[in-house]
């Protein structure tokens, strides 16, 4: 079973920002108008978030600010219930199972998002932030997203005790090599 949803105008939303694009206009007495979300800029994403939509834009600035300099096009993480209802000419979309994780994502949630698309970066970020995050919360987020197998590949259990091992981890020597060749933490002046 998969929960699906539709975007409809709620009673308190008098003027909708342009990010909400009506796709199926209905008239009085008929079922409500359906909308799609079009998020082409950071402010579009912010506008949608202000209306309570579960989505989050992961930027390279966030990753760099947590000690791992990265350059990539921002990625839009969207609750899977909205799959197919969010379009963007600027951002690729990645689905998130747990709607709650998108509400106000902290380090543990965002690291789990990153794990979906760049496992080595996720491991490196965890390694560089040991002591600054809650391993129990990271455990919960990884499990909620069903990312145990990808977590196992990069041996995230080293930082998240008790996380179930699913599948084969990458050879330790390979991970050590990646660690040695990862970009250095930016200096804070």
């Amino acid at each position: 079973m998969k929960m699906v949803s539709e975007l409809v105008r709620s009673g308190e939303a008098n003027r909708l920002p342009r990010v909400f694009v009506p796709v199926d206009v209905r008239h009085r007495g008929r079922p409500p108008t359906l909308y799609r979300l079009r998020a082409d800029t950071e402010s579009d994403v912010e506008a949608a978030r202000r209306y309570g939509l579960p989505l989050f834009l992961l930027t390279p600035e966030w990753v760099t600010a947590h000690g791992y300099p990265e350059h990539f096009r921002p990625l839009l993480f969207v609750w899977e219930g909205l799959a197919g209802k969010v379009s963007s000419s600027a951002y690729s979309r990645v689905h998130v199972r747990d709607r709650d994780a998108l509400r106000s994502p902290g380090f543990e949630e965002v690291l789990t998002f990153l794990l979906k698309v760049d496992m080595l970066a996720a491991r490196e970020l965890a390694r560089r932030n040991v002591g600054k995050f809650d391993p129990n919360e990271l455990y919960r987020r990884v499990r909620n997203e069903g990312m145990e197998e990808r977590a196992t590949k990069v041996r995230l259990q080293e930082f998240v005790p008790g996380l179930p091992t699913v599948g084969e981890p990458f050879p330790k020597a390979d991970l050590d090599w990646a660690e040695r060749n990862a970009p250095a933490t930016p200096e804070v002046r």
Partner: protein, 191 residues
């Protein structure tokens, strides 16, 4: 428009009259990852001489050489890496220079005077190296950026041509399984 890192690498390699093809993420315009590193492939017969020549270039700082890859830091662009790959590592059962000739003649395009490998050739090189697992996510990131998943079919054809299909069989299967993950939203071309 040529990326500054590629331009810097080109300036240095031209200085030493090295024939090369860009084979890393810089060759794939659509990827979501904007890498600063530049990966270039040279033919097997040129590899040793190229490394020796580049080691004496004052715009480069030699880092290491391992398994047919030599890494240099480019001083002109803030220390971004220039990785030089020996084509013999990708040629399988065929003679050392064949893969490089194949790249030049069939699997690359020229933009602004610089030759870039196709996405399929880049994926093939990523999957052929011993640390291929590191690069599997980069292939997914290319898909998210808009590169068609059908390129994997071409990767298999390249492997068959060079007798490396057996080496790549499990690796391609692994990436294809990842490509089908439901949480990544992109058009999965028919393969």
């Amino acid at each position: 428009m040529t990326e500054p890192e590629v331009e810097a690498a080109d300036t240095i390699l031209r200085r030493h009259e090295v024939q090369y093809v860009v084979v890393g993420g810089q060759a794939i315009g659509k990827t979501i990852r904007a890498t600063g590193d530049v990966d270039v492939m040279v033919t097997a017969t040129d590899y040793a001489d190229t490394i020796a020549a580049l080691q004496s270039d004052e715009d480069l700082e030699f880092q290491w050489e391992d398994q047919g890859v030599a890494r240099f830091a480019m001083r002109l662009v803030g220390g971004e890496f220039l990785d030089v790959l020996n084509s013999s590592k990708f040629t399988g059962s065929r003679e050392g220079g064949k893969f490089f000739i194949f790249l030049l003649e069939e699997e690359s395009t020229k933009r602004d005077g610089i030759r870039y490998a196709t996405a399929a050739a880049v994926w093939y090189t990523r999957l052929m190296i011993p640390r291929w697992r590191h690069y599997s996510d980069k292939i997914l990131q290319d898909l998210l950026g808009g590169v068609g998943a059908g390129r994997m079919r071409r990767v298999v054809e390249i492997a068959q041509r060079f007798g490396t299909a057996e080496t790549l069989r499990k690796r391609v299967a692994y990436v294809r399984a990842e490509m089908r993950r439901p949480d990544l939203e992109y058009v999965l071309e028919r393969e």
